[in-house]
Amino acid sequence: MIDGLVRILVFQGVGEVIAKFFLPLVPGPVIGLVLLLAFLAWRGGVPEGVELVSAAFMRYLGVLFVPAAVGVVLFWPHLQRQALAIAVALVVSVIATVAVSALVAKLLSRGGSDAA
């Protein structure tokens, strides 16, 4: 499992360095993700250690964004005043997103490409 963690941390490190010096607009970990994806494709499979670490992260992904989300206490009065705007924007936007994605996928699959 440690070998998997080392590999993932190395990809993260390389991603952070590339972001810092060459691609300041892209978050470093996302560059690391793309590099790891390319490595897996080149290798033609997922090493066992990487598989284990990734499965653990995916299982407990939620807890990782709790510390930042708790910062909502700082915004609370601010958010309360705009609660209606926020609620309407979030609800309508997610409905529209689901509808548009589904309709586009449906309309473009009609040409028989569905056979796959």
């Binding site: 941390l9 997922v46 995916m58 964004f65 510390p67 915004f75 997103t97 994605s101 589904a102 586009v104």
Partner: protein, 242 residues
């Protein structure tokens, strides 16, 4: 004779100066959230992150503990977000074979859904009088949370608001998705899953998996592709529009 016991407040002062308290609070609150989520048979409204954040926020208010003090301890959990983002490569890699023969509809749905998500949220929030801090927090809300927060940092938006709006979006998408998909008469499982993954990232994906395996696989793929494409395109587009 009893030994000199430290006064309660001394224990408290000692503990609140170490990262331990914030770490215990974070993990225990999340554990409570997971237990409630499992009790409600994985009802998307009983989201563990939402429960954990509520419990911790109430605790901080009750203890009169500043957020900065809490975060000093909790940053050890926060740090792992980047590492978790990198390891998203594994589920994406495994989902790639499902793209075969469906590349065009999948990519078009991704672009259409991604643009709809950002434009509709920004326009509505502005129209209803939200300020720019709130509007900024909405930009990356349909990306998976670890990536959304990274994108928020790059575009000068608040990672905190982004995290909160992202989790809320995931919950809403998981709860409402089915009705929207039925309304637009979308019946293929892969299309249903993909649409939920584009709109509601990880929370939508776990919901899709609990309904149908193929829908779940496509939702996970949509979440991953949306994360990668969003992280590359959004910061670039925002800086071009400024």
């Amino acid at each position: 004779m009893r030994p000199d016991l430290p006064a309660i407040h001394e224990i408290w002062v000692y503990l609140s100066g170490s990262p331990l308290l914030a770490l215990i609070l974070t993990l225990a609150a999340y554990q409570a959230g997971v237990m409630i989520y499992e009790r409600t048979r994985l009802n998307p409204l009983a989201n563990p992150v939402l429960i954990a954040v509520t419990l911790i926020a109430l605790t901080l208010i009750a203890l009169d503990m500043p957020y900065a003090t809490y975060f000093e301890g909790a940053q050890f959990v926060h740090f792992l977000l980047g590492t978790a983002t990198v390891s998203l490569a594994v589920p994406i890699y495994k989902g790639l074979p499902s793209l075969r023969g469906r590349l065009l509809p999948v990519l078009a749905a991704l672009v259409g859904g991604g643009v709809t998500s950002i434009v509709s949220a920004i326009l509505l929030a502005r129209l209803l009088g939200a300020d720019e801090t709130v509007v900024g927090g909405m930009v990356a809300k349909s990306l998976t949370a670890p990536i959304a927060m990274g994108v928020a940092e790059r575009i000068g938006a608040s990672p905190t608001l982004t995290a909160v709006f992202t989790v809320t979006t995931g919950i809403l998408g998981a709860a409402l998705g089915r009705f929207v998909l039925d309304a637009v008469r979308c019946r293929e499982w892969w299309q249903r899953g993909f649409a939920i993954g584009v709109a509601a990232h990880g929370i939508g994906t776990s919901r899709a998996f609990s309904v149908h395996a193929e829908a779940g696989a496509y939702a996970g793929l949509a979440m991953g592709l949306h994360g990668i494409v969003g992280a590359i395109v959004i910061p670039w587009a925002v800086s071009a529009l400024r």
